[in-house]
Symmetry: C2
Subunit: 380 residues, 2 copies
C-alpha cells in the first residue's frame, strides 16, 4: 500500500491535462518562434494557455509571463525588479518559500522581513512597520506551503498600494485551492506554479502589472515579450493552461472534498497526547494540516510513516534533508523541539476517508512502539 498525502509538494498530472498535452508531444511539432505553419500552431497553443491561466486568477492574458516554474517566477520578480536603478529596498514576509528568501538574500537590495504572529499571520501592523522603511516592493505569500495559513492579501495589498509600494504575492499553493483574484486583490505581481494544480512540472507564471519595471533575467531570444528568453516548453504550458481551466471549474468541489478529510484527520490526531496542530486558529488551505508530536523528530517520523506506506512531508520538499527546524515555525515562535517534530499532511482530489483512518492507525502504532521503547529503557 502506498498512500500519497503530500499534494503540496506536487500533484499528480490530471488525466485531462495529459490529454491536452499529448498533441504537443509528437503530432504537433515546431518551434513557436518559427514563422511557418508548424510554428504558428505552437504559438496558438501558448496563447490559448495564456488565456486559461489568466482566467484562473482573474487576470488578463497579456499580464501572464510564462516561466519554467514557481521558483523561476519568484527569482524573476525579485532579481528583475532589483536590477532597476533606484530600487534598493524590499520587504518580504519571514515565512516565504526558499525561492523568495534566497533570491532576496542574494540580490543587491536591502531586505526587511515582515514578522508573523504565533498563528502564522502577517498583520496590518507588521506591514505598517516595514512600510516605514520605504521599500519599493512588499511580498507576502497568499497561503503558506507548510501550515496552509491564508493571508488577507487584499487588505495587505491595499496598505502597500496606499503608500505607493508595489505588492507581490506568491500564490503557488493558494491558486486552485481557494478563490484568487489578481484584479480584485490589488496586487501588482503574482507567482503561479503548474505542478501544484495537477498540471505538469516545468511550467509556472509571473502575473505582472505592466507598470513594474521588470528586467529580464534570462537573455537570448525575445520570447515572452523579452522577459524570458528560451524556447517555450509548449507541452508543459499547454498542460498548465488545461490544469488552470480545470482548477477554476473544480476548485469548490475539490475544496469541500479535501476539507472533510483534513478536518477528520485533525480531529483524530488531537486525541493523541503530545500532538499539536499548528496555526489551528488561522484560516488555512482546506487540504493542509501541519502538526508536531512532542518527543519525535519530524524526519524520522516521516520515514516511519513511509515504511507504513504513507507519504507526508516534514515541511517543504525543497528543504528536505535539512536538520534545522522550519523557518516558518520559527517565525511563529514555535519552540525548536516541537518545530523539529513537524509533519505536514496535504490532501488532494484522489484521497479517500479510508486513507485517513489507515494513517491514524499507522501513526498510533509508531507512537506506541516509541513509547514502549521509552518505557523499556526506563525499566532497564
Amino acid at each position: 500500500m502506498a498512500v500519497y498525502l503530500d499534494y503540496n509538494a506536487t500533484t499528480p498530472l490530471h488525466e485531462k491535462v495529459l490529454e491536452a498535452m499529448q498533441p504537443y508531444m509528437g503530432a504537433v511539432n515546431g518551434n513557436p518562434s518559427s514563422l511557418h505553419r508548424f510554428g504558428r500552431l505552437q504559438r496558438d497553443a501558448i496563447e490559448n494557455a495564456r488565456e486559461q491561466v489568466a482566467a484562473l486568477v482573474d487576470a488578463r492574458a497579456e499580464q501572464v509571463v510564462f516561466t519554467s516554474g514557481g521558483t523561476e517566477a519568484n527569482n524573476l520578480l525579485i532579481k528583475g525588479l532589483c536590477a532597476e536603478p533606484g530600487i534598493n529596498r524590499i520587504a518580504i514576509s519571514a515565512i516565504e518559500h526558499m525561492s523568495m528568501l534566497e533570491p532576496a538574500a542574494m540580490c543587491d537590495c536591502e531586505v526587511d522581513y515582515i514578522a508573523v504572529d504565533s498563528e502564522g499571520r502577517v498583520t496590518g501592523d507588521a506591514l505598517q512597520q516595514v512600510i516605514k522603511n520605504k521599500p519599493s516592493l512588499i511580498s507576502v505569500m497568499s497561503a503558506n506551503n507548510e501550515t496552509g495559513v491564508i493571508q488577507d492579501i487584499q487588505s495587505l495589498a491595499k496598505l502597500a498600494r496606499d503608500r505607493g509600494v508595489w505588492f507581490h504575492t506568491d500564490a503557488s499553493q493558494a491558486a486552485g485551492k481557494i478563490d484568487i483574484s489578481f484584479a480584485q486583490s490589488g496586487v501588482h505581481a503574482m507567482t503561479l506554479s503548474a505542478h501544484k494544480i495537477y498540471g505538469p512540472m516545468g511550467a509556472g507564471a509571473l502575473i505582472l502589472d505592466k507598470q513594474l519595471p521588470l528586467h529580464s533575467m534570462q537573455h537570448g531570444g525575445s520570447q515572452e515579450k523579452g522577459l524570458r528568453a528560451g524556447t517555450e516548453n509548449v507541452a508543459a504550458i499547454t498542460g498548465f493552461g488545461a490544469a488552470a481551466e480545470l482548477a477554476k471549474k473544480e476548485r469548490d468541489q475539490r475544496a469541500v472534498h479535501v476539507r472533510v478529510l483534513r478536518d477528520a484527520l485533525e480531529n483524530k490526531l488531537q486525541a493523541f497526547e503530545g500532538v499539536e496542530i499548528f496555526s489551528q486558529n488561522s484560516e488555512r488551505l482546506p487540504n493542509t494540516l501541519q502538526f508536531g508530536t512532542c518527543g519525535f523528530d519530524g524526519e524520522t517520523l516521516l520515514m516511519q510513516l513511509d515504511r507504513h506506506g504513507f507519504a507526508v512531508s516534514s515541511g517543504s520538499a525543497c528543504t528536505s534533508g535539512k536538520a534545522e527546524p522550519s523557518h516558518v515555525l520559527k517565525a511563529m515562535s514555535v519552540a525548536d523541539e516541537l518545530a523539529t517534530s513537524a509533519v505536514r499532511v496535504s490532501f488532494g482530489k484522489d484521497n479517500v476517508m479510508a486513507e485517513v483512518d489507515a494513517f491514524v492507525k499507522a501513526f498510533a502504532e509508531i507512537l506506541e512502539i516509541k513509547n514502549s521503547a521509552v518505557m523499556l529503557a526506563a525499566n532497564v
Copy 2:
C-alpha cells in the same frame, strides 16, 4: 501537404522518448526532493537520465547540471562565471547563438568577440588574438545553428587550456548529429538541449568541470547541488535521457540518412542561377544547408515556401521576425543583400528524398513567378 525541414529549430518528440516519459506523467507521482518512496522514484529517474546524457557526450554523470533548456544553460555559464570576483573578461565567437551573445552583453564582464573567416570558421589565429587580452573564459559553439559549420573544438580548447583559459562550447546543435566528447575535447563546460535531439522542450544541461567557480543564477531549494533551484521537470529530464541514449545509438545512421538528402538538395539548388550555398567549403553538420538567393528576401521566401507546404527557416527561430541580416552571415562578410535572402533547410530522421524533389519543384515555381513579374515590370 506539410513538409518539415526545420529540424535545427526543434525536432519532433521521438515516440520512444515519449514512451520513456509517460510513467512520469501520471503513474509515478512525487516531488524528487521528497524523502518518501514517491519522491525517491522521481529522484532515481533523474539520476538515470543524468547517466544517459553524460554518456552521449562522453562525460561523467556528476558533471551534468540539468536546466530548463539550452538558453538557461548558456545564461548560467556566462552569468554564473561572471559573478565570481576576479572574472572580468571573456571572449566568445561572433557567431554564437543569441542565448550566448545576449547574456555576454548583459553581464559585468568585458567581452571580446572572436572573428570567423568567410567560411564561418574560428581559426587558431583568431583565438590567439583574443587570448592576448587574457580572458578568463573562451566560448566557441561546436556547430553553428544557421550554416551548420563545425568548429575544431579540440584544437581551439587546447590553445585556450595551454594559456590557462577556461573553454566552453555550446553543443546544442552538434550533439546527436556528430561525435562529441567532453572528456577528449578538453573543454571545461558544454551546453546541451533536449529538443534538438528528438527529446522534449523544457530540458537542457550544462556539462561542467568542477574546477569552474560557477555561481547559481536561480535560488531557492538546493536542487542540482545548489546550482539550479526549482523542482526538476522529471518527465522532461527523463525524456532528455532517453533521447540522449537513442541519439548515441542512432547517430551514425541518422547522419548518413540526412547527408544524402542534404547533398541531393545542395546539388539541385546549385543549378539555379543566383543561388549561393553558405560555408560550402567548411565541414558542416550533415543535415544543414543554408543558402542565399540573389534578389530575394529570406523571410518572404520562407512564407512563400510555407504556402507551398514547406517549413524552413530564414536563420535562427529565436530571431525570427527581425529584419536585419543574420549576425552569423555578417560575421562571415556576406554582403547584406545576399545575407537577407538566406534560407536554412535542416533535415531530420523522418525526411525522405521525395520531399527534396518536391521542395526543389516549389522553389523553382517561386523563382519563376518572381522572374515573370520582374520581366513583366521591365516590359511595361
